[in-house]
Structures are given as C-alpha cells and as structure tokens.
C-alpha cells in the first residue's frame, strides 16, 4: 500500500499548506492581546487582523481591492514576474548540480560575480544595442562558470568537498565584487554604494514601461525547457542522472563521466552567473546591491520544490516570488513582518528534504500494522 503522500506533487502541496498554516497560526498568536478583559474578544480580533493580513499576503500580487472594487494589480504583478526571473535561473543552476549528485552551493557567488562583471560591461558606451546586451550576458555567464571551476575541481577530487569550497567562493565573490564596483565603476556623486548608470544601449526590452516589467521571464522559461530537454531527452542527461544516483559509477567508469561532472557544474555556473544581471539591466539600470541579494540561496529551495526537475522550476520559482511579493505588500500595509516568508521557506525546505517523512516507511511500525489491517 503506497501512501498518497509519496506522490511527489501531493507531498509538495501538503507541505506548502502545512507551512502556510504554521505561518497563519504564528501570526494569530503574535496578535493576541493578553491585556484585554475578554480573552475571546482578543482572540477574535487577532483572527480578524490575521485574516486581513493574509488576504493581502495571498492575493495582492494579482488583485487590489479599492473601495470594494477588485482591480488587477499591475504593479505587483510586474514585480512578481520580475522576481521570478532570477529564481528560475538559480533554480535551474542548482537543479543541474543536484541531478549529478553534487552539493555545489555556490550559485549565490556565481550570480554575484556574474552581475558585477556584467555591470562592468554595461557601463561602456557606445556599442550597438543588441551586441551590447549579448556581450553583457556572455561576460556574466563566463564569470559565473569561472566561479564554479574550483568547487567543480574539488568535487572531482573528493565527494562533498565542493560544499565548503563553494561556500567560501560565495564570500569571495561578495568581497571582491564590492571591491571592483568601488574601485572601477562607482558613482562618486551618490552617498550609497552604487555604480554609475548603465549605458542606454544595455537597456533590456520592457513589456510594461511604467512598472518596468522586463522580458527576462520569457528567456528564463525558454532556458528551463532547454535544460529539461538536455536532462531528460538526451544521452548526456541520462549519464548525469546515472552519476547522480550512483556516485561510485562515476568513480570507476572512467574519464568521460568525470568530465560530465565538471561540465555540469560549469554550465550551472554560467546559468547562475546570468541570474542577477537581468534585474540590473532590466529594472535598476545600474549596480546597487550593497549586500548579496540571496537569489543563489533561493535557488536551493526552488530546486527542492521542483524535485530537481527543470520543467517544474518555473512553477516553483513563481510560487516563491509570489509569496515574496505578497509578503512585501503585507509588510507595507499591515504590522505583520514580511520575514514570515522565511519561516514558510524554512518549513518547506526542512520537510521536503526529509524524504523519509510522510511516506509509509516513516510511520511507526504499529501504525503501519494498523494501516495494513485497514487496507487488508
């Protein structure tokens, strides 16, 4: 008897619902005012305020209610799609390395390094429009791939050693990146750390001028299809999955598989390298991150929610971006902290990576006997 929760999609949805419920209850609890005379009045007011906040949280990326009328919320919708773009890229990057069974967690640094290198190209004028944009992407991708070389080498030498090397590379990307921005392309007239404005020829096509909805998400979805095709429909993809499911196979079956191990991580680095640059050339028009934006870390949860299958990556990235945008709106108009999203993310990661949980094997033996009894 197979538990219904061992079906992947059902499992993911169950855990998402679980995490949202926990977030809801936490919010209710944080709103209970213990000083009121009647506990139940306090409780119902806490539920009322939580419901208002959660309504905003879960609907605001799509709709906006103005004096009883429902309007389409173009601003938040644009933000949603714009925020989905980098998450698809890093989600694909992490899915790739997870498929080959490597814990290369360097997407954050690859993304940051790629964005810094791309920004250095973006400030140059004059270049023909299309060539400029292509050059920016090329440089970002190559930088990302280079940033993946050392962790890839480490994983080639010894399994799991890539974890620490890739984590260190994230720090290196941040410190060196900020140094490069400060030293070479900083806007000296601004008090905050930001680069000078990018050249107009680097500007990315916009779908919506007012809210700066750029076309990045289309490229991201196309890339997801390409990666999915490579991974699921080619011999190369089959090899990767074999290495991923049986590391000893790669160890003893010769140089070609080891080369695949390196190649996958370089491709993953190149994809992660371009994740951040969309936002800079499409939305901000300059480099203005004074801290690392975290898309690389988000790629981990996106990949986990997508069961490391590239075809599900856009969906899971869209979900994450949706609750992010919703939470930002909630934080703006209510007193609930938008950091609630991190709690939801954490619960999703912890429960989803626990394969043994919620499947029939994880139940206590006596439970299993009982279930067996019921199901004959």
């Amino acid at each position: 008897m197979k538990s219904i929760l061992s079906i992947r999609g059902v499992r993911v949805l169950t855990i998402i619902l679980l995490s949202l419920s926990v977030a809801y209850l936490l919010t209710v609890f944080s709103h209970i005012d213990f000083k009121t005379d009647s506990f139940f009045d306090g409780l119902s007011s806490a539920f009322g305020r939580t419901n208002d906040a959660f309504f905003l949280f879960l609907t605001s990326p799509l709709i906006r209610v103005l004096s009883g009328e429902i309007h389409f919320n173009m601003m938040s919708f644009s933000q949603w799609l714009n925020q989905t773009t980098p998450l698809i890229f890093t989600g694909l990057a992490i899915s790739l390395v997870f498929n080959i069974g490597v814990l290369n967690l360097g997407a954050e640094g690859q993304m940051f390094a790629g964005a810094v290198a791309g920004s250095c190209i973006a400030v140059f004028t004059p270049l023909p429009d299309l060539i400029h944009i292509l050059l920016i992407f090329l440089v970002s991708a190559i930088t990302g791939a280079l940033w993946s070389v050392l962790p890839a080498y480490a994983s080639y030498k010894k399994r799991n050693s890539e974890i620490l090397v890739s984590l260190m590379m994230n720090y290196l990307a941040f410190y060196l990146g900020i140094y490069v921005i400060k030293r070479f392309i900083r806007d000296e007239t601004s008090g905050a750390l930001m680069s000078i404005k990018f050249a107009p020829s680097s500007a990315f096509p916009l779908i919506n001028e007012r809210y700066k909805l750029h076309v990045g998400f289309i490229f991201a979805i196309l890339l997801a299809l390409i990666v999915w095709y490579l991974l699921k429909k080619t011999r190369w993809g089959l090899k990767i999955k074999m290495i991923g499911s049986n590391p000893q196979f790669a160890e003893y079956s010769g140089i070609h598989n080891k080369r695949a191990l390196i190649n996958v991580q370089l491709i993953s680095g190149a994809i992660a390298g371009t994740a951040g640059i969309f936002e800079l050339i499409g939305f901000h028009g300059r480099f203005l991150w004074s801290s690392s934006p975290g898309y690389g870390w988000d790629g981990i949860i996106v990949a986990i929610m997508a069961s490391k299958n590239p075809i599900y990556v856009p969906l899971s990235a869209a979900f994450l971006a949706y609750i992010r945008v919703g939470a930002q709106n909630m934080g703006r108009y209510t007193d609930v902290s938008p950091d609630l999203v991190k709690i939801i993310q954490a619960i999703i990661i912890i429960f989803l990576t626990t394969e043994g949980l919620f499947t029939s094997e994880s139940f206590h033996p006596s439970f299993r006997k009982l279930r067996g009894h019921f199901h004959g």
């Binding site: 936490l26 944080s30 814990l103 967690l105 050392l150 080498y153 480490a154 030498k157 010894k158 050693s161 974890i163 620490l164 090397v165 984590l167 260190m168 590379m169 720090y171 290196l172 410190y175 060196l176 900020i178 140094y179 400060k182 030293r183 870390w297 981990i300 949860i301 986990i304 007193d335 902290s337 950091d339 609630l340 999203v341 991190k342 709690i343 993310q345 954490a346 619960i347 990661i349 912890i350 990576t353 626990t354 394969e355 043994g356 949980l357 994880s362």
Partner: protein
Amino acid sequence: MVNLLDILMNPSFYATIIRVSTPLLFASMGALIAALAGTPNVALEGIMLFSAFSGTIVSALSQSLFMGLLGGLASALMLSVILCIFSLKYKANIILTAIGINILSSGLTVFLLSAVSGQKGNTSSLQSAVFPQIHFEFLEKLPFFGEILNNQNALTYCAYISVFVVYLLIRKTPFGTHLKAVGENPDAAISVGLSVNKIKAIALMISGLLAGLGGIFLSMGYISWFTRDMTGGRGWIALAAQALGGKSVIGVTLSSLLFSTGESLSYSLQMADIPNELVQSIPFIITIVVLLVYLKVSDSR
C-alpha cells in the same frame, strides 16, 4: 591617513582581535566537534543568531543575566535537536536541513522581534543584561600584553577556556575516542557496539551549545542589543576556520585567529587607503587554496 605600522604597533588592534575572536572560537570549536563526528554542522549560523536573539529577549523579560544565558543555550539546543531529528532519525540531507534551519532562524527572530518588542530592526529599546568585563589587577603591570589581555568580556575568557575544554574532551575522554571512531569509520564503530546516531547527535548538540555561546556574546557581550541577521556570516566563517584548521584543536584555534585578524584589520583600515574588502577576502582565499592543495596532495598519495 593611518599607517599600517601604526596599526600593528597599537595594542588596541590586538585587543580587537581577541574580542572578535570570541564568537568565532566558540562556533569553530562547535564546527570541529561536528566535523569530527563526520556530520558538518552548517546550521551554526542560524543557531548563533537564534541564541543571540533569545538571550536578549529572555534576559530583558526576566531581568536576569543567568536566565538570559539559559534561554540562549536552550534555544541553541532546541535547533540542534531539530537538526538531529530530521537528519539522523528521518535521514534528510543534513546540509539542506541545516540551510533550512538557518533560514528559519533568520525569519523567526525578526518575526518574533516585531511581535515581542514591536520593533522591526533591533531590541535597543529593551533593557537586556550584558556579561561584564573582567579586570585583572596583575595584568595592569604588564606592558603591551596587559593592555591586550585585560578588560575583555567574561565570555571572551570563557571562549579561550572552552578551547581547552574541547581539547580535553577530544583527547582525554572516552567520548572523544568514540567521536573520532564514528567520524572516521562508522562501520567499525558499529562493529564495536557504538551507537553512531547517538554519538553524532551528542556531537551536534555540543556543537550547537558552543555556537549558542558565540551568539550570546554577540548580543549580550560587546553590545547589549540584538539586530536582525547580526551574526553576519560568522557561522559560515567558523566552518571555513574549521576547514582551514583541519581536525586539530590547535589548528582550528589558529585559523580562527587568522580570520579574527582579518576582521580586526578591516576595522583599522577603514581610515586607511587599503580597501578593507580585499583584506577581508584574504582569509577566504587562504582557506580555498589550503582546501584545494589538501585535496590535490591527498589524492596523489
């Protein structure tokens, strides 16, 4: 303009190294114990952060330093137990579970912060307790070194004591022997009747408690409030320090001091013309190089 030589001649530069090494030493000793058991503790960052938060909150609510300490340690233990349950009992990937715990800690601290104190960024409005500085009379007469070693926070001295305690634990107790057996050869450990999971769980809990002390220093030592994400990557740096120092207490202590020197230099150099981003990246470059050289050498053997 500040001269590098001036910085190096100034005892306050070294006193800063000792001070900033406090959270790092605690956490890297935690990283070491976990690494010895063969289970890297990537959750150090989140555990430190949560302890820093709950230490401040509990001490502010109870107006007691001791209760704050207990609160901080209890929350460190709680997160470690969560890590153990999911990774050891339910066989989740320990790295991914730990990343989940880090995110949980980052989110939950800010969420609870605004729920408890109504503030979004920090707890500076709360009256929370602080560990005292300790003044040694006999160090006053010692020139230069006296200035460096004297008047540090009580927890700073504890951090250096904890290095000795960890050394003794690893070298002189049966638990230390079991720890290494489990880490190096789990199959052999099972065959002599050791419970691998139990020893790993204990190692992760000790590791968490040490990281918790490091977190408590951050919000109840040098400064007296909690700010969001105040650990600033120290948990990750502790992992780097452990990787650089290998599996020896002395090695990890020295590499922690190297990272602390980098941090202290970056403070001093803010006045100087040398970019502190480059200074701060040096320990990471050294760590990466050492890791890769180690991989290359151990492979060719």
